[in-house]
């Protein structure tokens, strides 16, 4: 059976979403057509608006539809604390889980020397001018605990040293409710060497 061209095009387009193969794309397309045309129209409009309207915050480089995002514009947050993360999703995770009241800087990735992604590609010159301005007292390096994330943290740490800014790294170790027996060796050795006084 031949499928109308517009449906074929819709199915093909939906496949650009992560985790969506031909079968799920087809299910989504038919669902919208059969049951939820209004939802489909809204989705189309929202997608268009988001793709054209969302850029990057001038201060922290996270996604934003205004020039300076609401987190950066909030003057009740402490300007002296700057938390560096890899992705906008990390900002949300930290906001939900911690009571952090400082500002953020989003790298939109991490250093990956073999792919040619170094300090310049990560916009670290923007971060450097932030450090140079002298407002930041402490920079919290919350990049992922991977080799690439560590390399990025090291680099920014050295940069902070140049401007006499205190650089701290988030702790990594045993997850809450975890059992030592089942934890991988790398995490365990990190947790062990990073132990601290009980009182």
């Amino acid at each position: 059976m031949s499928v109308p061209q517009l449906i074929g095009q819709l199915v093909e387009t939906l496949r650009c979403l992560p985790g969506v193969g031909p079968k799920s794309a087809q299910r989504m397309a038919y669902h919208l057509l059969e049951r939820d045309r209004e939802g489909g129209r809204k989705l189309g409009r929202a997608l268009l608006e988001a793709m054209d309207g969302i850029g990057y915050c001038r201060e922290c480089r996270t996604f934003s539809d205004i020039e300076v995002c609401t987190l950066c514009a909030n003057d009740r947050r402490d300007n002296g604390l700057l938390c560096v993360v890899e992705t906008p999703a990390d900002v949300i995770a930290l906001e939900q889980a911690t009571g952090y009241q400082g500002k953020y800087f989003v790298l939109m990735g991490h250093m990956s020397p073999l792919d040619g992604i170094g300090p310049a590609e990560l916009g670290l010159d923007v971060l450097e001018s932030r450090l140079r301005s002298g407002q930041v007292r402490e920079i919290i390096l919350a990049t992922n605990p991977t080799v690439e994330g560590e390399a990025t943290a090291h680099y920014i740490g050295e940069l902070a040293g140049l401007y006499d800014v205190r650089a701290t790294r988030i702790a990594h170790g045993v997850p809450l409710g975890g059992e030592l027996e089942y934890i991988d060796g790398g995490t365990l050795s990190h947790a062990f060497s990073g132990r601290r006084d009980l009182y």
Binding site: P113, L114, D115, G186
Partner: protein, 237 residues
């Protein structure tokens, strides 16, 4: 073909499909191999923390066609901690291997030199000497070994006090001070590199220059990316 618990290191990884990783690994008995780690990027994957570059691993996979499928991974020793710029040196080793080795071409001796180079970088021993000695053994193992202790034209032993022009892919040729041009080194530097005794700064500098030219011959025109990133790192600080 099933390969069980083979010692190896991950040289590089790329995201593959939605939740998988494509790994370039360097193994002791199978050389460089391309492997797909299914589901390794999903939140529930046990392998996620394990599959890191520079960590000694034991890898198991099914080989079929160009890419194998990873079936298991275990640690094979402590995870090396590479502080600051040393991590860039380690990345440089990986880039050299990726650029100069073809897949499925075993080099057990080179594997040993790689493992010990990573260990030495992690333990904080002289980083630059470690790099030069790895470059030397890389060229040696891949069949591009440098002639260092004999004059390429006369066959005489290299004399520490004479001056030599190094002709790539050929070897050192004795020259006089007035006719010196191109890549010129003292016999002392060449012999120091030959013996692997690079403690004195002049020989180390010469070894660096010679290796840079020799390596460039085999890595092609595209410049090495790690070198560019390291340059940015050094310039900004």
């Amino acid at each position: 073909m099933k390969i069980p618990l083979e010692p190896g290191y991950i040289l590089h990884h790329y995201p593959y499909r939605d939740t998988s990783l494509l790994l370039e690994v360097f193994t002791r008995h199978h050389g460089r191999v391309g492997l797909v780690a299914r589901g390794a990027r999903s939140g529930r994957s046990r392998l996620r923390g394990l599959l890191q570059v520079f960590s000694p691993l034991l890898l198991s996979w099914h080989a079929r066609g160009e890419l194998g499928t990873l079936s298991g991974a275990e640690t094979n020793g402590p995870v090396p901690v590479l502080p600051g710029k040393r991590i860039m040196s380690a990345y440089y080793l990986n880039e050299l291997l990726l650029r100069m080795m073809t897949r499925n071409d075993p080099h057990p001796e080179l594997f040993t030199s790689y493992a010990s180079a990573i260990d030495r970088l992690a333990s904080g021993e002289a980083g630059e000497i470690t790099l030069r000695m790895f470059e030397k053994s890389l060229l040696q193992e891949l069949g591009y070994g440098l002639l260092l202790d004999q004059d390429a034209e006369t066959g005489h032993s290299v004399n520490p006090d004479d001056l030599y022009e190094y002709q790539l892919e050929k070897g050192p040729v004795a020259v006089t001070r007035s006719s010196a041009g191109g890549l010129c080194f003292t016999g002392r530097s060449l012999l120091a590199l030959h013996r692997g005794e690079l403690d004195d700064p002049a020989s180390l500098r010469d070894a660096r220059l010679l290796m840079r030219h020799a390596i460039a011959l085999y890595t092609g025109k595209r410049p090495l990316r790690t070198r560019e990133v390291l340059r940015q790192w050094t310039v900004s600080q």
